[in-house]
């Protein structure tokens, strides 16, 4: 629905909120990229920067919620406008969570630099982070364009992130069994992998919300899931 409202101030309100979401999305993408880069390059300063920058993301979420409440109170949005307001509120929540995970990556990176290097893991985590960053980017593009196809594509791509997480989970388990001195580092790295996997879930949630925003229907069909670590066990001999 691209026709303008008769009341042009309503359009300005909606565009304003959308701009806040895009700004938030930009900051979150940078946070993921910087956090995983800091992890791979063992850059404590950059990790610290990511932690500090999270405050700006949190502030934007609050601003989105305030603006959304104002639009509901003043404009009484209906139909697609109502769905857009509900959507931006959920999107802001999702993005804020992703920001928190990135912040957590920063914290763990500061701890990890004191520990032995686990070969290959930081590089793999950075690739996983890039995958999630792309998903998030496309999910927000799908929101702005109202592109259901792209949103469905994002939703399907989460399976790859789950599979990357699975592979890392097994790798960390192996490292820890090989040498107990790896346990501290692997525990941190595992949390990082899990956090990135959760970021993917939030990107998926954003994509689903975009589908609702455009079609008015919440996608109900079971999406592909690749995380089967809940069933993993190792026997100690």
């Amino acid at each position: 629905m691209n026709d303008p409202h008769i009341l042009s101030a309503f359009d300005r309100d909606l565009e304003g909120i959308q701009a806040l979401i895009m700004k938030m999305g930009g900051l979150v993408e940078v946070a993921i990229s910087d956090a995983t880069k800091a992890l791979e390059t063992r850059d404590v300063e950059l990790a610290e920067q990511v932690r500090k920058n999270d405050a700006a993301i949190d502030a934007l979420e609050e601003q989105v919620n305030i603006e959304a409440a104002r639009v509901i109170a003043i404009r009484a949005p209906a139909a697609s406008d109502l769905r857009t307001i509900l959507t931006v509120m959920k999107l802001a929540g999702n993005l804020e969570r992703v920001g928190d995970y990135a912040k957590n990556l920063g914290k763990r990176t500061s701890a990890l630099v004191q520990m032995p290097v686990i070969e290959g893991a930081p590089g793999a985590l950075r690739r996983m982070g890039r995958q999630v960053e792309n998903m998030l980017h496309d999910a927000l593009d799908a929101f702005v364009q109202g592109d259901v196809e792209l949103a469905i594509d994002v939703r399907d791509r989460d399976e790859e992130v789950d599979q990357m997480y699975n592979a890392l989970f097994r790798e960390f388990l192996t490292f820890m069994m090989e040498d107990p001195r790896n346990i501290s580092a692997c525990m941190h790295l595992h949390f990082i992998a899990k956090n990135i996997e959760r970021m993917g879930d939030h990107a998926t949630s954003i994509a689903e919300q975009v589908i609702y925003n455009v079609t008015g229907e919440i996608p109900d069909e079971e999406r592909p899931k690749g995380d089967n670590t809940s069933y993993t066990f190792e026997t100690m001999e």
Partner: protein, 265 residues
């Protein structure tokens, strides 16, 4: 999810009270209503929305033959009330209007006392044989219209001396005094303040336990608040009829979407 609040909002009766088939209305050569088919369910509030001149009031007035009084107006098609054609020559319009009551946009009390305004319908239709019965009907109707407390001490004062909002509630009391089966309301709250509006909306919600209510309103929020079914009219066409919840969150027709979101359609 079986939520009690949501259940309450749902349509409670699937029975059709009024069925309109291929209704066309002409004012002279102008076709104001174009092939409208609609089922009005019993015990349900149906809201008619649409821009000015879309035909919603014209169509509403067909439902109790108020258009008979306009010489140039011609109604084609069939409108059935409980499966009986209301335009059949055997139907007495006066009896029909006792069954299908109406409240208008502008309050139009009779130049009589408050009591007589409400008692008028029951008297001419012989609904009360004793004075006490009639008193009961008058009080009950005024209470339902949320007016009793304000006028109980001056029932013999002229109805025209009341404020605009009170006059409208008096007209509602008058309309429900004959216990109609269907109540037609044409912009009943456009002259009322928010409190009186809320009282009328509360009354409408109460009425639907017994009657069908059809309300024409320009306030989309009012339509969303009081109705279970919403019909959107545009240029004499019935564009969309559906559950109110659905029409206001995800309408099917782009014209409905444009109208309720306040866009140039």
């Amino acid at each position: 999810m079986k939520d009690i609040q949501l259940e309450n909002r749902a349509v409670t009766d699937e029975k059709t009270k009024i069925a309109a088939n291929n209704v066309n209305v002409y004012y002279g050569d102008t076709r104001a209503i174009k092939d409208v088919n609609i089922d009005i369910k019993s015990r349900t509030v149906t809201a008619f929305i649409g821009p000015s001149g879309c035909g919603k009031s014209t169509f509403l007035r067909c439902l109790n033959r108020m258009n008979d009084t306009i010489d140039s107006c011609r109604v084609e098609g069939r409108i059935l009330l409980d499966n009986e054609d209301i335009y059949d020559t055997k139907v007495d319009p006066v009896q029909l209007r006792a069954k299908v009551g109406m409240v208008f946009q502008k309050p139009n009390p009779f130049p009589k006392s408050i009591y007589d305004n409400v008692a008028y319908g029951p008297r001419i239709h012989g609904l009360a044989s004793k004075k006490a019965d009639l008193d009961g009907i008058v009080e009950d109707s005024l209470r339902k219209a949320a007016l009793w407390d304000e006028v109980k001490d001056r029932l013999q004062a002229p109805g025209t001396g009341l404020s605009g909002g009170q006059q409208q509630r008096l007209c509602i009391a008058r309309a429900i005094a004959t216990s109609p089966e269907v109540l037609l309301m044409d912009e009943p709250c456009s002259a009322l303040d928010p409190i009186a509006t809320a009282q009328v909306e509360e009354l409408i919600d109460g009425l639907r336990t017994n009657f069908s209510v059809v309300i024409v309103t320009h306030s989309m929020q009012q339509a969303a608040r009081v109705s279970q079914q919403t019909a959107f009219f545009h240029l004499g066409n019935l564009v969309e009829l559906g559950d109110t919840d659905h029409v206001f969150t995800n309408p099917t027709d782009p014209r409905t979407e444009s109208y309720i979101t306040g866009r140039i359609g």
